[in-house]
């Protein structure tokens, strides 16, 4: 039986980093993947791309779709900047847009390809992986042995058991990429980041979009004041949002899909649309792994791991969506680094740093977030003060016409350290890195007030929030002393 340092099941965001990193560090690595898709980059040669949901159905295609949708929206926006001759282009040719999306995927595909990983010295085994023991993984009937087994099988769309849904048919974040006819109307079940992003993209491409969300507001992991900015924009773009609401049954009627919706207040109504997109959460891909046989513990949220990414079975590790707690590519990649350190050195020492994990919702405006939000801090009784600054006083945002509603806020602990930050602005994601770096390295929040930000730049927002904090040190009694000093100095 082939012996490896690492047998990795799943070649998505987490598994690929373990495989490439492990191989680079001199380990023997087997990478098991059941789903490789053909892609041919422009001017390049065909590859079999792995990459999991991120490349195939998630981050990459959704961001490319959002970019195309922004280009359509720019037509509607040009008048704001006094530009003549650029107008609302109306409903788009979705097939052409999907070709753009596929082009972006194809550009990235070689990086995640079977060919590249084989060239790196990784043994790529195509097929489903199944645990045979705590050290053995079966692929198509052949077993390989690993000192460590890393499960990184990801997640897939959770389909709620709504009567009539299966019979009526629906799209998920997987099947949506094969749609080539723009639906005239689209009902999005779920108001999380996937629902909000795809909802806005389709609306901008010309669909009439309705979002049905069971939470009090869309993007429920964000504070209400943050989500409200996005809601305002979506509504202004023609999106209908039903909060605190769920679909109760679905049927096909006269060729249309009819969704019965019930709100928590008791209201019931029907929405009839051309298409339904289900984005009501994710479920971990644990089926077929035979976790029970080896005794690896798991629950509805996936495989149970500790901060070192260990399962209860010493040689078995789990990372990424199948384990959580975050379902982000960068989290999976980060966990991969932790697992590399913990498996390729004789002792497992590294733990995941949950508090410094950022995330971005890629709507327009974007929502960028790290650490504690206000509601979470209040709920958990964390001692904090909140400082905020609106983009209304950021001169670059004024020149760019992005000042309305958008803002940044930072939670600071009693010692002046950053607990969390949220930025809502079309470029929020670009701006987040600065505050994550400050937080991660334990810099005092005031450091963001003393660094020079270029004028006029959006990054000045960090200085603006930090100055609100610094100001609080200028107490009335201190001001009185300074005034006396000034009077003395001008004798």
């Amino acid at each position: 039986m082939e012996r490896y340092n690492l047998v990795v099941i799943g070649a998505g965001s987490g598994g690929l980093v373990v495989a490439a990193g492990g191989s680079g560090l001199g380990a023997r690595v087997a990478l098991v993947e059941k789903h490789a898709l053909p892609f041919t980059p422009e001017g390049g040669i065909a590859v079999r791309a792995m990459g999991g949901d991120c490349l195939q159905y998630g981050c990459v295609p959704s961001k490319a779709l959002l970019r195309a949708a922004k280009a359509a929206h720019a037509g509607r926006e040009a008048g704001r900047f006094a530009i003549r001759g650029v107008n609302d282009p109306g409903p788009q040719d979705l097939g052409a847009v999907m070709d753009y999306v596929r082009g972006a995927q194809a550009h990235i595909a070689p990086n995640d390809s079977v060919e590249r990983f084989e060239a790196l010295g990784v043994d790529v085994l195509l097929g489903p992986g199944r645990l045979r023991s705590a050290h053995e993984v079966d692929v198509n009937g052949t077993a390989v042995w690993g000192r460590h087994v890393v499960i990184a099988t990801g997640s897939r769309a959770n389909i709620p058991p709504i009567p009539g849904l299966e019979e009526t048919g629906y799209l998920t974040n997987e099947s949506v990429w094969h749609t080539r006819i723009l639906p005239g109307s689209l009902l999005v079940m779920g108001g999380g980041p996937i629902g909000a992003e795809l909802g806005q993209a389709f609306a901008r491409l010309g669909s009439k979009v309705t979002i049905v969300s069971s939470t009090p507001h869309i993007c429920p992991k964000e504070d209400a004041d943050v989500a409200a900015v996005l809601v305002k924009e979506l509504v202004s773009e023609g999106v209908t949002i039903h909060d605190n609401s769920s679909a109760t049954r679905v049927a096909k009627r006269d060729g249309r899909k009819v969704v019965a919706v019930k709100s928590k207040s008791g209201a019931e109504f029907e929405v009839d649309v051309d298409e339904i997109l289900v984005a009501t959460g994710r479920r971990p891909n644990i089926e077929g792994l035979d976790l029970e046989a080896v005794g690896v513990k798991f629950g509805t949220r996936g495989i149970a791991i500790d901060a070192k990414c260990r399962t209860n079975v010493p040689s078995v590790w789990a990372i990424g969506d199948v384990a959580g707690p975050y379902l982000f590519t960068h989290w999976a990649g980060y966990q991969a680094g932790i697992v590399l350190r913990n498996t390729l050195s004789p002792v497992a020492l590294a733990s995941c740093d949950v508090a410094n994990t950022p995330w971005i919702t890629y709507t327009d405006p974007e929502i960028a977030h790290v650490g504690l939000g206000e509601e979470e801090a209040a709920k958990n009784g964390v001692s904090h003060r909140v400082f905020r600054a609106p983009f209304e006083h950021n001169d670059r945002a004024v020149c760019d016409g992005t000042w309305e509603n958008n803002f940044a806020k930072v939670l600071v602990d009693p010692k002046g350290k950053i607990l969390g930050a949220t930025i809502v602005h079309p470029h929020a994601g670009d701006l987040l890195g600065e505050i994550v770096l400050a937080k991660k390295n334990g810099l005092p929040f005031s450091a963001l007030a003393s660094v020079i930000h270029a004028y006029p730049s959006l990054s000045e927002i960090h200085g603006a929030v930090a100055r609100e904090y610094v100001k609080t040190s200028l107490t009335p009694s201190r001001k009185k002393i300074l005034t006396k000093l000034a009077a003395f100095l001008r004798r």
Copy 2:
């Protein structure tokens, strides 16, 4: 005679910060300004705006113009994203665009207004300021006394003595904002940031633009590889660039402006255009201050100051464009803070931190820069290594179609500290803050590799460059040891 802690001459970026800050810290402040313009913000009341070149003729109107120009350019770009029905809008109504520009200025105007500063307790004296002594400033025949006098009179366009230029007529960064008819063709003298920014804006709005630059490449303060990315974009947008070239004479012929150009290689040719924009550097506003009478030293680059912003006369300080060395609003504002600390405490202790001053050229792509560039480091014999990463492997840039040509590079000293960084990308300015913060706080460059960047975000470029640096620690001998360790671990 009224006695003040601070008499500030010039209410631009530097002077306003001294005045507001000084007043806030309990000092008595007189602010002398000869140029306040009326603005009425949308839905607001009329104000007399100070703000200097930044608000009136510089940063603010140029960024608003660039934003409008980008909206026109978006029409040409839509096809790249498979969007139908959004097209090249052709030449624009410049008057309408200038109204948009004025709207942005009006939004900001109240912040820089006579009314606001009076409300802050500052005595605003409208008129030209002239030094009567080391402590006295004359305004319209009345003198005021200051424990300290801060000169912040800014700069204006430098007009080269080219035969025929005055007679033929030209625009500067001041008069350009009164233009309401788009010139069919525009010759920009000067390839610095102002020339590059306004040149691109006019080209995108529909002018045929020619840039004549005396330096080997436009944006001469940037490394050649950085400027080349911008040049490639400008040329693709139809801008003609003549490097190493100068206008030798200008004349009017058949209603057109004819500029004779001579290149350093000896070639001579004529360019005939509808309009000329002069952007060949800046000169300090020192006339009328009577510096000689008080003995304040100055040269062609302005008033001589030390790192504490002191002139040779102990009670006289100078900040901003009139003193330099940088001609940036944020530099002036930063110097203002230094002067506040040095004048309102009994001892002058604070010095300017030149090495951590960023700047951005607001073209598309933007060029964002802090600290040492490669050419400067080589010229000065500074020991360094350069690490770079292209946006070609940044997945967000791939999805957004901004991956071609753009890149980031960082100069690192032998101890792993950041010496300088340059980013060239449409969002470079948003990304710069993170690396400035790291540099300013003396974080090791490797810190940018260990912080988690959200995927897919442009800020991952910092991690990508830093990983190039971290990789260098994986030497062949270290790799050998790791390989042996891995073999041992998989027994």
